[in-house]
Symmetry: C2
Subunit: 275 residues, 2 copies
C-alpha cells in the first residue's frame, strides 16, 4: 500500500517512476535490526545525496554530524527521549550551519549584514532539504529511518554533546538502520486541504478534516497515545470518545512543548538574530 | 556527470539505486520550453510525493498553492525578480502553514500553547521536506525545476497575491516545466567540510575552502555575476582578481538582502511568535 492507495488518490498511471514509487511508500522506521551492520561506504553516498539537494543561493548553510559511537548515540537518544537510538547503527544529525558563512565573511574582510530572522529560515530549510534527500537515498538502499525533531528539545545539551560552535544548531536527527519492523504508510490530509488552486482556500477544510479524522481514527496510530492535558481533557479512564487527527493535534497544541519554550533564548545565545 | 563525478567522490558502486542516480544528477533549471505542456495529472502526483515526506509529528504544517494562471504567474515572477516564470507552465508555492492547526485547536475548544519560535521552524522545515520530494518526483518525470527563495523578498505582496491567511507564508517557490537548457551539476563543498564525525570539527575548513574556491573559480558560475558592495569591493573594471565561493558568499553576506530586513515584522503580523 503506497500513498496513492492509502489516501485513495486517483492518478495517471503513466506518471510512475522508480523515484516516485520509492517516495510514495515512505514510512518512518523506529525498530531496527541491531545485528545487521550498514554497508561499507553508505555515509558517503547519503551525504552525496544530501549535498545534491537544492540549497539557498549555494550558501550550503547546513552540516551533518555522523554519530556512530555507541555511548554518544545512547546519550543523544536519551536527550531526544527515544530508546531506539541504541538499536540503530547510525544517526546523522542535520544542523543549520551559519558558522561557515560567518567565517568566510570575516576571513575575506567583509562585515556580516545577513543578520536577520530570514537567515534562520534559510539555514533550517537548507538542512531539511538535505535531510529529505538523504532519507530517500537511504530508503532506496533498503534502510529504514526516522526524522527526530526532538533533537531540539534539549538543544543546549545536544549542542554541547556534538560540540556545535556559534551559529550552528541541530534541526533534525536522522536515525538509520535496517528495519526490523515496517509501519504501514500513514494517511495524510486530503490533497484538497493541502493544495490550493491559484489562491489559498479554506472552502473544503471542515469537511476534509471530518473525513481525515474518521480515517485516522480507524488506524491504530493513536492507540495508547492519547494526549492528556491536565484540566482540559477527560481522565484517562473516561477518555474513550472519538479521537482523530484534529483532536490529537489540538491537544498537542494545548499541551505545548515546554522543552522548546526556551528555544528563542538558546538561538540568541548561539548567535542567531530573531529580529 | 553526477555529484560523485563532479565532486570526485570515491564511492561503493554497489550502493547505486535508481533513486540515488536521480538525486545525484540534480541541477536547477531556469530555462523552460514554454511550448511543451505538462502531462495530465502531474500536480496530483507531485503533491502525493510532497505529502509522503516526513512531517513533524504528522502536524503537516505546510500548504501548496498551485499557480498556473499566466497573469498571476507573471506577477509572482515579478515579485521574485525572475522573468523565467513566464516560460514555465507551473509554479508550486510551498508555504509554512499554521492556520490549520490553529483552526482545529480553536474548533476543539483548546487554548493554543505551541506559540514560540520553534513552530516557525517546524512549519518552514515541513514545507522544505515536502518541496524536496516534489522536486525529485518532478525530475524523475523529465521535468526541470528550481526552488525560489526570493519568494520571501516581497513577502507581503506575495501573501496578498495568493490570499494567504494568518499563520501562513510562502517559503519556497518551485518553478516547473520541461527544460529547454540543462545546467551542469554544480560542485558542492567537500564532504569533509559538511560531514563531521562524532562532533563538529573545523580542522579541514581552511584547506577545504581553498580547494572549493579554486574549483568554483574554474566553472562559469560567477561569470557576469560578481557581487558589488559599494565602498567594499573594487570598481567593476578593476574587479578581476580570483573569485570563488568564499569571495562570492562573503560579498553576498556583506550586501545583505534589504528586502528581507522587514521579514521579522512581516512574520509577527502574520501571527508568528519569534520569542
Amino acid at each position: 500500500m503506497d500513498r496513492f492507495a492509502v489516501d485513495d488518490i486517483p492518478y495517471n498511471e503513466d506518471l510512475r517512476t522508480p523515484v516516485i514509487d520509492q517516495i510514495v511508500k515512505h514510512t518512518s522506521v523506529r525498530d531496527f535490526d541491531s545485528s545487521k551492520p550498514l554497508p561499507e561506504g553508505v555515509v558517503t553516498v547519503l551525504v552525496a545525496a544530501a549535498q545534491s539537494a537544492s540549497t539557498s543561493s549555494n550558501f550550503q548553510t547546513y552540516s551533518i554530524v555522523q554519530v556512530s559511537d555507541p555511548e554518544r548515540k545512547r546519550r543523544l537518544g536519551e536527550l531526544c527521549g527515544h530508546s531506539f537510538f541504541d538499536q540503530a547503527p547510525l544517526v546523522l544529525v542535520f544542523c543549520a550551519d551559519t558558522y561557515r558563512i560567518r567565517w568566510v565573511t570575516e576571513r575575506r574582510g567583509f562585515p556580516f549584514k545577513f543578520d536577520y530572522v530570514d537567515l534562520l529560515l534559510v539555514a533550517s530549510m537548507d538542512s531539511a532539504l538535505a535531510c529529505q534527500n538523504a532519507a530517500m537515498a537511504a530508503e532506496s538502499l533498503g534502510l529504514g529511518c526516522v526524522m527526530i525533531g526532538n533533537i531540539r528539545n534539549r538543544a543546549k545539551e545536544v549542542s554541547e554533546l556534538l560540540e556545535l560552535p556559534e551559529g550552528v544548531f541541530a534541526t533534525i536527527g536522522l536515525v538509520l538502520g535496517y528495519p526490523s519492523r515496517q509501519n504501514p504508510v500513514k494517511p495524510r490530509l486530503p490533497q484538497s486541504t493541502v493544495l490550493h488552486r491559484e489562491r489559498y482556500s479554506t472552502e473544503t477544510l471542515e469537511q476534509d478534516l471530518a473525513r481525515y479524522d474518521e480515517r485516522m481514527a480507524r488506524t491504530d496510530v493513536y492507540e495508547g497515545r492519547r494526549v492528556q492535558v491536565p484540566g482540559l481533557t477527560p481522565e484517562p479512564e473516561q477518555d474513550t470518545g472519538p479521537y482523530g487527527w484534529s483532536e490529537h493535534t489540538a491537544r498537542r497544541m494545548a499541551a505545548g512543548n515546554l522543552l522548546r519554550r526556551g528555544f528563542a533564548e538558546f538561538l540568541r545565545e548561539k548567535g542567531f538574530t530573531l529580529g
